[in-house]
């Protein structure tokens, strides 16, 4: 079949024409290459592979020589413009292209050409350089060198939009440290950028907004100098631009304002500006292009970690709006990821947001219809289903929106999958919903467990985070999780090469066995094995050590038989705990280790003697005893954990207690504890009550239930369902709870 586009040369032929001796052929081929690659990412890649970039860069270099030799001016300019435009297009939004342009040595030539007398040449060159500076691969610009600063100022002062835009791009890309930000301020750059804001063209305003945000980032000093009285009221020009007619300008202005808000507690804190920012960003979601894709990320940066803003956003119906966009489907992956992360931020702290999210429906009629039908069915049979409770209705509603999240878990884009996991993690912080068994179902668990094997580490870690919350489940059995191989996978991941995967897998396991039944714990332990667990306790990474110790703590809590775990294989685990406590690099390791020992000591005499031996064999020199060190620690949790361990070792019902008490007294531990009677921390004081056997009255009993880390108190306290819920509530509302992610 004859080719219909016979007059269109193939890429390889075009390339050979680039090296032609005839200038006419050459320039036409150059223009053709440029026209073929503009807007066409696939063509850029194929030309790149054929080596087009060095060829074009070569033409640029040759033309510069022609300029210096004053050869045919028009022709030369034409070559310069076309080759610069082609290089710029290769670099536009295409990292491989940027790298190729840099590798071909075109960068210094482009810089030189900024001084060319011909306007079109300068325009083309400035654009090409700006494309390079939009990529992270751009060469770092050293602002601290006087020469460079002067060059930058000359760029910004240029009347040509393309050139001043280049200056702004250089700032946006390369300005990183506080020192550089200050240097830019001192050189008067901010004043110049501000004038571009007020009197510049559209592209100058946009470029200026981006540069200002870069200079302000995390630098309250520069912000207050800029917003100070000398330059008039520059913040108001940025605020005005947030209401500009162009969506991109609105977005960039909002992002600049958010940077200022986040860096400096003095500016833009009133409720008016907060509400305005929220509304503008939510409205920008409707933009079909890149602006709409980036808007949710800006929204996240506004509300993350800030309850007041999350509340305002909830009132502005943010969750409904995000849900509406997800429902529309066929989203650009960037937008999908952004919306999921924004939802994650919304639900990260406030139960009201999580409830709102889970009450969203796929279609208004769908949710209640089946229940209506049941209700109107007048047939009385033995098998008539019980009238649906409101809990069932709630579960059904939740399943709709969870289906949306579950879809995202299987998306082809890794960023979307990770974002879906992070969203789940936030939503599953809801104790209420966890207790009601919202999440331990196939829709969520099966795709989540599949992500444990995801090729991307960040997706794995995010999936583990969501799992950690979901497996804390009291009402329903965790059998779904076990059945789909979740438990076994977690143990496999605990052996991963990546430390973040190991520590997060252990975290999930720790939560999985929290107050679980004995059979489940035995299953975990036999799969895990004592040797693996002890090696994890001795892992090189402190975060892994901490989680491994916490896992032991949760495993041995409860029935006495479980304490035998630490004695398996010649006391491998107990030994590892002892060695790790001796050289604990941070308080958290000490805390988990001591609670583990505390739980062991809540068993029988043999167990208590073993713990005692551990404490004392490590104490070569009394001054180096880790027990005393922990009792003197600044960390109140560590002090508390240590005291509770001593409590268990000296509980009066055990025959060996007086002997152990004597040993502790001789080691100076008892006097140390006596000094702590007026400890500033209530938890410590409560624990000390028990050492000195002051009988717990109503008040101290209540104090105990309000206190974290109760798990070691199995000797004295029997849990009822009610009490477990009370303790759990306390656990969650503590922000530094070891339990919830």
């Amino acid at each position: 079949m004859p080719s219909a586009t016979v007059n269109k040369p193939r890429p390889s032929e075009l390339l050979s024409r680039l090296t032609s001796a005839e200038p006419e052929v050459k320039v036409r081929a150059l223009r053709e290459v440029k026209n073929q690659i503009i807007g066409n990412r696939t063509k850029k890649l194929s030309f790149l592979k054929l080596g087009a970039v060095p060829a074009v860069a070569g033409i640029l270099a040759d033309s510069i020589d022609d300029v210096t030799e004053n050869n045919n001016c028009n022709n030369t300019n034409n070559f310069l413009v076309q080759s610069a435009a082609a290089l710029g297009s290769f670099a536009c939004g295409f990292d491989a292209g940027v790298q190729a342009v840099l590798d071909a040595g075109a960068f210094p030539n482009l810089l030189r050409l900024l001084a060319n007398p011909n306007e079109k040449v300068v325009d083309a060159v400035a654009r090409a350089l700006r494309m390079i500076y939009q990529s992270k691969l751009a060469p770092k610009y050293d602002f601290l060198q006087q020469k460079n600063m002067e060059f930058l100022i000359s760029l910004l002062n240029s009347e040509k939009e393309t050139v001043s835009g280049l200056g702004a791009s250089i700032i946006t890309r390369s300005c990183e440290t506080n020192l550089e930000q200050k240097a830019l301020f001192d050189a008067g750059i901010l004043r110049k950028l501000n004038s571009l804001l007020e009197g510049g063209s559209l592209s100058q305003r946009d470029a200026s907004l981006e540069s200002l945000a870069t200079v302000f980032r995390n630098n309250p000093e520069v912000i207050s100098k800029f917003a100070g009285p000398e330059i008039g009221r520059p913040l108001s020009s940025i605020i005005d631009l947030a209401k500009d007619r162009y969506p991109r300008t609105r977005l960039l202005a909002c992002m600049c304002l958010i940077v200022i808000r986040n860096a400096s507690p003095h500016f833009l804190q009133d409720i008016g500006i907060k509400t305005k920012l929220i509304h503008i960003l939510l409205e920008l979601l409707d933009d079909p292009g890149q602006v709409g894709d980036e808007a949710p990320f800006a929204f996240s940066s506004l509300i993350a970690q800030k309850e007041d803003l999350q509340k305002l956003a909830l009132e502005a119906n943010a969750i409904d709006k995000f849900h509406h966009h997800i429902k529309k489907g066929s989203l650009h992956p960037r937008r999908y990821e952004g919306i999921l992360l924004a939802l994650a931020d919304m639900c990260s702290k406030l139960e009201s947001c999580r409830t709102k999210f889970l009450s969203l429906q796929a279609k208004p009629s769908q949710s209640l219809e089946p229940f209506k039908a049941l209700a109107s069915n007048g047939i009385h049979t033995a098998t008539k289903p019980k009238p649906s409770s409101s809990r069932d209705q709630e579960l059904m509603l939740a399943s709709f929106v969870l289906n949306l999240v579950a879809d995202a878990l299987t998306d082809y884009n890794a960023g979307v999958r990770a974002a879906a996991c992070i969203c789940l993690k936030s939503v599953t912080r809801s104790i209420q919903k966890l207790s009601a068994g919202y999440f331990m179902n196939e829709t969520i668990v099966i795709p989540l467990v599949q992500l444990f094997l995801d090729p991307s580490t960040s997706v794995q870690v995010a999936a583990l985070g969501a799992t950690s919350n979901i497996v804390v489940d009291f009402t329903t059995s965790k059998s779904i999780f076990v059945q789909c191989g979740g438990m076994k996978q977690l143990i496999q991941l605990a052996k991963s090469m990546e430390s973040s995967v190991r520590s997060n897998a252990l975290w999930a396991l720790k939560n999985f066995v929290f107050q679980a039944d004995n059979r489940l714990k035995e299953g975990v332990f036999s799969e895990l094995t004592a040797s693996l667990l002890s090696s994890l306790i001795r892992d090189p990474e402190p975060s892994v050590q901490e989680q491994a110790l916490a896992l032991v703590r949760n495993l041995v809590d409860g029935c006495i038989n479980l304490i035998e775990f630490v004695f398996a294989e010649d006391g491998l685990i107990l030994g590892a705990i002892g060695r790790q406590l001796q050289c604990a690099s941070k308080a958290e390791i000490g805390i988990q280790g001591m609670y583990a020992l505390c739980n062991v000591a809540s068993g029988n005499e043999f167990h208590r003697e073993a713990v005692m031996q551990l404490l004392f064999t490590q104490m070569g020199d009394k001054n180096q005893s880790f027990v005393v060190k922990f009792l003197q620690s600044n960390d109140s949790q560590l002090r508390t954990a240590t005291v509770w361990t001593i409590v268990n070792l000296t509980c009066p019902s055990s025959p060996g207690a007086p002997c152990r008490l004597e040993k502790l007294r001789n080691a100076g531990i008892v006097s140390q504890i006596k000094n702590m009677v007026n400890d500033p921390c209530v938890d410590v004081k409560v624990a000390i009550f028990f050492i000195f056997r002051i009988s717990p009255c109503e008040n101290s009993a209540r104090a105990i239930y309000g206190f974290r880390g109760q798990l070691s108190m199995s000797v004295f306290i029997h849990y009822s369902e009610y009490k477990r819920q009370e303790i759990l509530k306390q656990l969650v509302f503590q922000s530094s709870s070891p339990l919830f992610f």
């Binding site: 807007g39 939004g93 559209l202 007619r245």
Partner: protein, 216 residues
């Protein structure tokens, strides 16, 4: 009554300068370069951009309106290579138009090859184009395109729509001043003026009615 009218008229401020600006913006946007020059001379209103740029832009618009899409693309790239490089939707619409023109001229083989080599890639690069892509490619299925369900794609209005999109994109890239020389602003300014004219009309009606009643 005349005084009443004039008093109320004075409250309405449609300044002559605003009207002139509106007219100038319209002439610039629609690309009537000669009219721009004449109007400038007569009223002293300054256009917000270089008149030479108007000619360039109009050449592109005209090329699309005549169905010479390839030529239009080359001209846009000469004007500013960034426009099509950073505007995937516009680029897609231009290529879509190119395919439509090939089909209109019954160059079916060429159209097929173009759809395969170029348009399919756009669909791969960006899923949101897929639906429109499928619609356009479906044209190839029909023997009698002018009577098929998708015949509106072949309509001149489709060309005009694409031409306007390109015009707007070029205008945006060329925009200098803060606001006033864009299509949106023309709309909002003209809306303002229309509103005031309607008010005037209503006012005139009221006054006539009053006088009628009064005289009765």
């Amino acid at each position: 009554m005349r005084e009443e009218w004039e008093k109320r008229l004075n409250h309405i401020r449609i300044r002559k300068e605003d009207m002139n600006k509106l007219v100038m913006n319209f002439l610039v946007t629609e690309g009537y370069a000669e009219a721009v020059a004449k109007f400038r001379m007569e009223t002293g209103t300054e256009p917000d951009m270089d008149v030479a740029m108007i000619t360039d832009r109009m050449a592109v618009k005209k090329a699309v309106q005549c169905g010479n899409v390839e030529d239009a693309i080359e001209k846009v790239n000469d004007l500013n290579p960034e426009i099509l490089d950073t505007n995937p939707e516009l680029f897609f619409h231009l290529q879509q138009q190119r395919l439509i023109e090939l089909i209109r001229n019954e160059k079916i083989e060429e159209a097929l090859e173009f759809a395969q080599e170029e348009l399919a890639l756009r669909g791969e690069e960006n899923q949101s184009f897929l639906e429109e892509l499928e619609r356009t490619v479906s044209l190839l299925v029909f023997k009698d395109v002018s009577n098929c369900p998708l015949r509106e794609l072949l309509d001149i209005s489709q060309r005009l729509k694409t031409a306007n999109d390109v015009n707007a994109a070029i205008l945006t890239s060329q925009s200098h001043e803060k606001g006033l020389n864009t299509i949106n602003n023309i709309r909002s300014l003209s809306l303002e003026i229309v509103r005031k004219l309607v008010y005037l009309l209503a006012l005139a009606q009221n006054i006539i009615l009053e006088s009628y009643l009064f005289n009765k």
